[in-house]
């Protein structure tokens, strides 16, 4: 599903360059549930942004679902993002003035889907996350767990092959976090590839595979390269 080779991502602030991802290599199989771990500032979110086509990269290769995304125009990138990728954020990122239904419907609007089909899809996905009764509630009227369910529903409504979750349980209590993890596990069981950034080892343990990012490099515990040989860049 994801293949990055020698990928390089640099942030520039004036004359200062910071290499957020350096010679970054990763492969994520279709249907896999991958947990990404690492200290703050190691490049986890940058990786998710690049993987989700929300950010550009300077060098290397990125193949998403068999398509080389280098050099794609914005319209194509947006369409790929809309059809193939779903995002779940730590802070939910719901539109505060749209109700649950409208929030979930947004990706389908950008896809230009007819209203009747949109309605059926939204109702189906809301029933999947157990929020049919809250369809006309505003985000502010929901608990944190419910808001994250809405965010997951919104990510799933377009039936993406890849779900990118950036600390999806970071703002939730333990009980709710467990429920969200169960939901993500179920979604993965349905065939959706999930890449989840988390700080919590017990949540990462529920993934098929764990991968560490340190100083902009992916450190796969299964890989032969020892952690000690990774050059510190920052």
């Amino acid at each position: 599903m994801i293949r990055m080779r020698q990928l390089r991502k640099v942030y520039r602030a004036g004359l200062v360059e910071t290499e957020a991802l350096a010679n970054f290599n990763i492969e994520v199989e279709t249907g896999e549930f991958l947990a990404i771990m690492g200290p703050s500032g190691s490049g986890k979110t940058t990786f998710l942004n690049v993987a989700g086509l929300l950010d550009t990269f300077e060098g290397g290769e990125y193949i998403l679902d068999g398509e080389d995304v280098r050099g794609l125009g914005d319209t194509r990138l947006s369409a790929v993002r809309n059809r193939k990728v779903g995002f779940v954020f730590q802070s939910f990122n719901l539109m505060p003035d749209l109700d649950v239904f409208d929030n979930v419907e947004v990706p389908l609007r950008y896809r230009g889907m007819p209203a009747s089909e949109r309605r059926a899809r939204v109702e189906h996905v809301l029933s999947q996350v157990g929020l049919t009764a809250r369809m006309r509630h505003l985000p502010a009227q929901l608990s944190g767990g419910q808001q994250q369910r809405v965010a997951i529903a919104r990510a799933l409504v377009g039936r993406p092959q890849l779900l990118l979750a950036d600390e999806p349980t970071g703002n939730l209590d333990t009980h709710t976090a467990r429920q969200i993890m169960e939901l993500l596990t179920d979604i993965n069981a349905g065939g959706t590839t999930i890449v989840m950034v988390t700080h919590a080892p017990e949540l990462a343990a529920r993934a098929h595979r764990k991968l560490h990012i340190l100083d902009g490099k992916a450190i796969d515990p299964r890989a032969p390269e020892p952690l000690a040989r990774v050059r510190t860049r920052r």
Binding site: D74, S78, L98
Partner: protein, 443 residues
């Protein structure tokens, strides 16, 4: 479909910060209202008084050994403008195209259910309305046949209504006397029944077809064919007396008194030359008169206006100020939109993550700016109405009552929406071009 969605998102974005949105709309509305008021004052001044029509005023310069220098100056002042009935007929007879004579008078008008009142009346030909750019809200001008003497013979035509001579009313008079539908109705003018054939829209140009003090003190309310007006004995507001006569309308028409304006259309230089030659030839055949007619004096509408309607340069300054203020409001709106779009950049990042392209984001923000412009246009209409009433009270020496007519309202709405568009382009472009990941980091 996606446009409706953008519109909805834009509307909600504006509704989320009502006071800020009101400040944006309000500041633009003030700029737009001041601009349209200033523009109206300049347009009414007359640079645009007769767009596209080569209209000329025809007068006759006179000389005579029996006039003192002072008398000559006084007479010249009016004779350069006014001619006698017989001279007017001669000048019109040689006109190659559209032409009219006209004078101002007062007549007693009555309609069913309304008390009779003396109203400002203008005698003119059918061509008068086209020459001076009048527009009709109902009906139209009378027929060319009605301009001929004795065109209407009571009892002769098919119906009673057709037997009546025609009259045109201004919108306010028509509304007051006859309500919303005036055409075809009957009014009494000077004791005789007339059939209303047309109702004019408010005239928002300088009325240059008469002397300045006439048009500034009396708004024309009723328009009659010249022969009908003469038949009713509608005495002109101003008469430069020549030799003594009996004092009846028939005597006036036969006399050498000057009281009629002549206007005609001369499309090009060749037509002017031909007309001048024809009039010169006519002058050469005239018997000797005191004072004698020397030459034809043709003045273009612009020339006539410059000569007789000296305008206050303050209007131009006001227009400049209004334009600069409007431009400043547009710049201010750009600044406010940049601030607003930046403050909700995080949500833009979310939209981008969900599949919105740069073009979608650009369009969505442009629509938001456009809503501000449209709102400013609507609010500006209300503010300008208020502004016009203030300015009409402040400026007493004005060529017309400044009004927001339909054209002005459309110009205001168009300018405000265009300004919203212009102001929105840069902030929308800037917002759409930031990297989504940068937006999301702000969340």
């Amino acid at each position: 479909m996606i446009l409706a969605f953008h519109l909805r998102v834009a509307w909600r974005s504006l509704s989320r910060t009502p006071w800020f949105s009101l400040a944006m709309v309000g500041s633009m509305a003030v700029g737009a209202a001041v601009w349209i008021i200033a523009r109206t004052t300049v347009v009414a001044q007359g640079a645009l008084s007769l767009p596209g029509r080569p209209v000329f005023h025809a007068g006759l310069d006179r000389v005579g050994p029996d006039l003192s220098e002072g008398d000559l100056r006084n007479v010249q002042a009016f004779t350069s403008a006014l001619v006698s009935w017989t001279d007017a007929e001669a000048l019109l007879a040689r006109a190659p195209g559209a032409a009219t004579m006209t004078w101002a008078s007062r007549a007693v008008i009555a309609a069913h259910g309304h008390p009779a009142a003396a109203l400002e009346t203008r005698a003119c030909s059918r061509a008068f309305f086209a020459l001076f750019g009048f527009r009709f809200s109902q009906g139209g001008p009378w027929s060319a046949a009605a301009d001929r003497p004795g065109a209407v013979q009571p009892g002769a035509p098919d119906s009673e209504a057709d037997a009546l001579p025609p009259v045109v009313l201004d919108a306010r008079t028509a509304g007051r006397l006859l309500g919303a539908s005036a055409v075809g109705r009957t009014v009494s003018v000077g004791g005789r029944d007339f059939r209303v054939v047309g109702v004019l829209e408010p005239y928002q140009r300088m009325k240059i077809y008469d002397l300045k003090f006439i048009v500034q003190t009396r708004p024309d309310e009723v328009y009659l064919p010249v022969h009908e007006a003469a038949g009713l004995g509608l005495w002109p507001e101003i008469v430069v007396a020549g030799a003594p006569h009996g004092g009846s309308m028939a005597d006036l028409m036969a006399s050498d008194d000057h009281w009629v304006h002549v206007w005609l259309e001369l499309p090009d230089a060749a037509a002017r030359t031909t007309y001048q030659r024809a009039v010169a030839s006519w002058i050469s055949t005239l018997p000797e008169r005191r004072p004698a007619i020397a030459t034809l004096r043709l003045r273009s509408a612009d020339h006539w206006q410059r000569e007789n309607f000296r305008t206050f340069s303050g209007y131009q300054l006001f227009y400049l100020f209004g334009t600069l203020l409007f431009a400043a409001c547009v710049l201010n709106l750009i600044r406010l939109l940049l601030a607003k779009f930046s403050s909700r950049a995080h949500l833009v990042g979310v939209h981008r993550a969900l599949g919105a392209s740069k073009r979608s984001v650009f369009l969505q923000h442009l629509i938001e700016a456009e809503l501000v412009g449209l709102g400013a246009g609507v609010l500006g209409l209300g503010l300008s109405l208020l502004g016009f009433s203030v300015i009409n009270q402040l400026i007493l020496d004005r060529p017309v009552v400044f009004l927001l007519d339909l054209e002005g309202a459309l110009v205001l709405l168009g300018a405000a929406t265009a300004a919203g568009l212009v102001a929105g382009v840069y902030p929308a472009w800037r917002t759409s071009n930031l990297v989504p990941a940068v937006f999301l980091r702000q969340g």
